[in-house]
């Protein structure tokens, strides 16, 4: 059961088109909604009027004045309004909402809501945000500023002066925005309902990762909790549906309340691309003291500047993960890691698979390559000499044990032994044929990724799961959503394994906040490892409850046979750590994560010397997953994450106009890789069990996105000599680097 590649529970319905996504549903009498958005990056709103020449008789219009509770999207701080009131702080910010009997009428009505703006100076350069005008957040435009110090970095840098055995090596690295690009755009339906006590209320049904985020945010706006939130089948999230759906749900709910009707709000693709969150861009300056002979890291001083955009969202957590992961999976006894997350007038950046780790580990890996280049060493040797070993301390002072760093490196190297492609131009797909000039290269990069929430996050959250015996079958109740990663498949596997029954007897209740407890959000590589662990505890608790009911503990079916009642037996468990983790969020000292995942990625590619295009040939990854509950799904997560990172590497560029608005707002010009662009993939699952996870499982959702882009940069350098320290490595930039090299 555990370790079996069972077919995904949701697979057949999705591939046959029977799965019901939010846009497939049309409630009786439903109105269609659209959003009036700011055309300015920063402006004062001086008036909102309705065009007297437009027929608004069947149009519901909502502005900030219609909000019954607080005008806020409640998340970490309350800085983001549900609808801009006096000021807009980014282009595409929602200012008003309309709903009409047809989509056409709603879209037409949008252009007849006349909003008067007085433009204000806008801030786009994160380097000129902190302490500068205009004032966008707090006293100094800083969302988060974290400095982590380990050992004595100042002393190490001071003693490096004049020491011929060591050298100070510095580098600057940059990464751009990245769009999550879930295939299904944001969408929500609000319908009216009467709850069990006869009170009127709402149901929010839509595409999301975190139903209880929506509950928290919506209850502040409505001033009550007379509603439930139900996840529809969700066409991907990647973090883009972590916090953003709260805003969509608030908007649908406000329109439903004012109109008295059901309201459907679905973003158009271009609207979704322009309006919603992206991965944070980052500028990273790394200085290191290294041993000349070996490249060993003696001291690290890293400064990261993240652009948070116009509202805080979850940016401080991204900043935090960035600070902790900044050195990569490498031992260093003297570390200063400082990260600043600042405000600008671009649409807010937010959660995205990896959450800061893909940005900083690109810099970490490129910096090791720089060390190798400057010292004349082999980049692989520089990694070997620095890689974490059991017993090493991380920059937060956490002692590492049972770590997979070296094991994943050797496993990936062994699997990748087959030689590189010849690089002679044969077989170039997409035209070119024998005339193409290709240079082949191989690149390698290593990642670590803290699994689950940082520090005391899980202990504070106490994520819950229910398991119910309904007849002879079992049903799992959690708020963990299946967003394509396989929750609906692995939870039954866990329960079935724990109870010794067939997996077909275990179902998963749809995430409906009326029915399920708060398991915490579906984020941070925590669903299998953390919530799966609570589900396992619930299965054990249910067995115990049944045993006490029937008077013996034995074969599960024998116990069922002995039952005299057919009442539903329902148990609830919640997360509790073993008390050994110690974390101080003030000093950033202690056990940052319950465990870490480890991964090594090797990319074989060819660079087209005529065009700067990169052709991916093969990607080998070896990843410590703790235990693969379902190896097919685990490999799928790892391969999908790696492909997303290849897009981050060489083709996904968000082009902003002078207002900070995404110009390439179409799938034809925001270039994600297709199946043809994907390399042959080989994925090695390494299992070093984590005692805190169900059957030893660790989180794996994010680690595959952490460093493939760094391996690509190394491979391009090895193929051509061109050094690229900035993402994305678009063909235009590769060409420029090829020319610089000459």
């Amino acid at each position: 059961m555990i370790g079996e590649g069972l077919v995904r529970a949701d697979g057949q319905a999705k591939v046959t088109g029977r799965a019901v996504y939010v846009d497939d549903v049309r409630p009786e009498g439903c109105l269609y909604a659209a959003t009036v958005r700011s055309p300015f990056a920063h402006a004062r709103i001086t008036g909102i009027r309705l065009d007297p020449d437009f027929d608004f008789s069947d149009v519901t219009v909502v502005t900030a004045a219609d909000i019954p509770g607080e005008n806020v999207v409640a998340l970490m701080t309350d800085d983001q309004p549900a609808l801009a009131d006096k000021v807009v702080r980014h282009v595409m910010e929602p200012v008003a909402l309309v709903a009409a009997p047809t989509r056409e009428k709603a879209l037409a009505a949008v252009s007849h809501i006349l909003v008067d703006y007085e433009p204000l100076p806008a801030l786009f350069d994160p380097e000129r945000s902190r302490g500068h005008e205009p004032s966008l957040f707090g006293s100094d435009n800083v969302y988060s500023h974290i400095t982590l110090v380990h050992g004595d970095p100042d002393g190490a840098f001071a003693s490096a002066e004049g020491n011929a055995d060591v050298r100070i090596i510095e580098g600057t690295y940059r990464v751009g925005l990245q769009e999550q690009l879930y295939i299904e755009p944001q969408g929500m339906i609000a319908t009216h309902r009467v709850d069990a006590e006869g009170a009127p209320g709402l149901t929010l049904f839509g595409s999301m990762q975190c139903p209880f985020y929506v509950v928290k945010a919506l209850s502040r706006v409505l001033g009550h909790k007379r509603f439930n939130v139900v996840q529809a089948v969700t066409g991907g999230g990647f973090g883009g549906k972590e916090e953003y759906p709260s805003l969509v749900a608030i908007h649908a709910a406000l329109l439903a309340l004012k109109s008295g009707k059901s309201v459907k709000l679905i973003y158009r693709r271009d609207e979704d691309l322009r309006a919603t969150t992206k991965r944070h861009p980052c500028r990273l300056r790394y200085r290191t003291v290294v041993e000349v002979r070996t490249g060993r890291l003696l001291a690290f001083d890293g400064h990261m500047l993240f652009d948070g955009g116009a509202y805080n969202t979850l940016s401080p957590v991204v900043n935090s993960r960035g600070v902790i992961h900044a050195v990569g999976p490498y031992r260093c006894e003297n570390v200063r890691s400082e990260a600043l997350m600042v405000a600008t007038n671009t649409p807010p950046n937010g959660a995205f698979r990896g959450f800061g780790a893909p940005q900083v580990q690109f810099a970490a890996e490129r910096h090791l390559d720089r060390i190798a280049r400057e010292l004349g060493l082999d980049p692989l040797d520089v990694r070997r000499v620095n890689l974490y070993r059991d017993g090493d301390l991380t920059p937060t002072g956490q002692t590492l044990k049972d770590i997979g760093a070296k094991i994943v490196l050797e496993a990936a190297l062994e699997r990748a032994q087959r030689p590189l492609p010849p690089g002679n131009g044969s077989g170039r797909p997409g035209g070119g044929g024998q005339a193409a000039r290709l240079a082949a290269g191989r690149g390698l990069a290593l990642a670590w990724h803290g699994c689950g929430f940082t520090g005391n996050g899980e202990a504070n959250l106490q994520g819950k799961a229910d398991l119910a015996l309904e007849g002879r079958d079992l049903r799992v109740y959690t708020s963990s959503t299946d967003i394509g990663q396989g929750t609906e498949t692995i939870f039954p596997q866990i329960v079935a394994a724990a109870l010794g029954i067939g997996v077909g007897r275990v179902s998963v209740a749809p995430p409906d906040t009326d029915l399920v407890p708060d398991s915490g959000p579906t984020v941070a590589s925590r669903t299998a490892m953390v919530v799966g662990g609570v589900v396992l505890k619930a299965a054990q608790a249910l067995r115990a409850a049944l045993a006490s009911e029937v008077g013996f503990d034995g074969d599960f079916d024998a116990m069922l046979d002995a039952r005299t009642s057919d009442a539903v037996l329902r148990v609830r468990e919640q997360y509790a750590d073993d008390g050994t983790l110690v974390w101080d969020p003030k000093t950033y000292r202690g056990d940052a994560y319950p465990t870490f995942g480890w991964s090594c990625v090797i990319v074989d590619l060819e660079v087209d010397l005529d065009t700067g295009e990169v052709l991916y040939r093969r990607l080998v990854q070896a990843t410590d997953v703790g235990r693969a509950l379902n190896p097919v799904l685990a490999s799928g997560q790892l391969e999908g994450g790696a492909l997303q990172a290849l897009g981050y590497a060489t083709s996904e560029e968000v082009v902003l106009d002078e207002r900070g608005c995404m110009r390439n707002d179409r799938l034809t010009n925001y270039i994600i890789p297709t199946a043809l662009d994907a390399p042959e993939m080989e994925t090695v699952l390494i299992e070093i069990p984590f005692a805190g996870g169900p059957f030893g499982a660790k989180g794996i959702g994010e680690i595959p996105h952490d460093v493939p882009h760094a391996a690509v940069a190394q491979a391009i350098e090895r193929a051509t000599g061109a050094v690229l320290d900035r993402l994305p490595m678009m063909p235009e930039r590769v060409m420029a680097a090829l020319e610089r090299r000459r």
Binding site: L107, G430, Q434, D610, T668, P731
Partner: protein
């Protein structure tokens, strides 16, 4: 500011059953936008770029799906032939395998099953994937109207300006004529578009060199996505006529093309890539012959 594009579900659709009927409708209703596979029209409609009052749906006109020999020994391709059907035709393979290469890079399978060669031509996008190949092959377009019957226009004379063509308001593109393949021809197609499917090109090269006794006796170098129209490259072509093949002819590319900075790429990149892919083609011809 937000786009208020909407699908006009009420737009009228004219449904001719024969070519004559289609030409008559075209003459009577010049405001009706001809609709073939719809792979460009539907996208533009959804994006709010076009807003025609009605459509002239040509999809049922099977007469425009024939691929046949011409008396001159070449091939005549009906305008409604899809990219997929080009790839299945022995005649096209024999006379213009490079056109099949180009057709295989259009969009992805679904687009190739629906999109038509005639649609690519009439849409006249500077990024149209097949257009530089048609220029390089000296294609001739057969246009027809109810009033005046058919006329032939060379591909080189068809593309007049940005999305402007020689097609008159009462005309339809009926067929594409390609000359017989010459054994001395070296042809080449290269699309540069950042990814291998579903890509809109940054640079397209369609090329044909006729080499007799080591001399280039005919040169056709044509470009896409480097100017307002798909265009021939007269300076490069002139430089190539001679012996031996001048592999440095790419230096002349800048005289012929007019690339711009846009959302997909930069003028600098396009020019450099155009030079590079041309040079690699010329070298490959030299190598093939040596």
């Amino acid at each position: 500011m937000s786009r208020t594009a909407q699908l006009k579900s009420t737009a009228a659709v004219l449904e001719p059953r024969t070519l004559n009927e289609a030409l008559e409708m075209r003459a009577r209703a010049p405001d009706a936008m001809p609709l073939a596979g719809g792979t460009d029209v539907m996208v533009s409609l959804e994006a709010g770029v076009i807003d025609p009052p009605r459509f002239l749906n040509l999809w049922r006109l099977d007469a425009l799906r024939k691929i046949e020999d011409t008396p001159a020994g070449g091939v005549r391709i009906g305008a409604l032939c899809t990219y997929t059907s080009l790839g299945r035709s022995d005649l096209v393979l024999r006379h213009a395998s490079v056109l099949i290469e180009a057709a295989r890079t259009v969009g992805a399978t679904q687009i190739q099953n629906r999109g038509t060669l005639g649609g690519n031509i009439v849409n006249a996008s500077p990024a149209g994937d097949t257009l530089p190949v048609l220029l390089a092959l000296d294609a001739v377009f057969e246009l027809s109207s109810a009033e005046r019957g058919a006329r032939l226009v060379a591909a080189a004379d068809f593309f007049l300006g940005y999305r402007q063509t020689a097609l008159l308001p009462d005309e339809l593109l009926i067929a594409i004529h390609l000359p017989a393949r010459n054994a001395d021809d070296h042809t080449h197609y290269r699309k540069v578009g950042t990814r291998l499917a579903q890509a809109i090109s940054k640079v397209v090269l369609g090329a044909r060199l006729r080499v007799v006794d080591g001399q280039v006796v005919e040169a056709r170098i044509a470009w896409g996505s480097v100017g307002p129209v798909p265009m021939r490259s007269p300076s490069v072509e002139a430089a190539l006529l001679g012996v031996p093949i001048d592999v440095d002819a790419e230096a002349k590319v800048a005289q012929d093309i007019r690339p711009i900075d846009d959302i997909r790429s930069t003028a600098d990149y396009r020019q450099r890539v155009a030079e590079n892919v041309l040079r690699s083609f010329l070298r490959s011809v030299v190598q093939t012959r040596s």
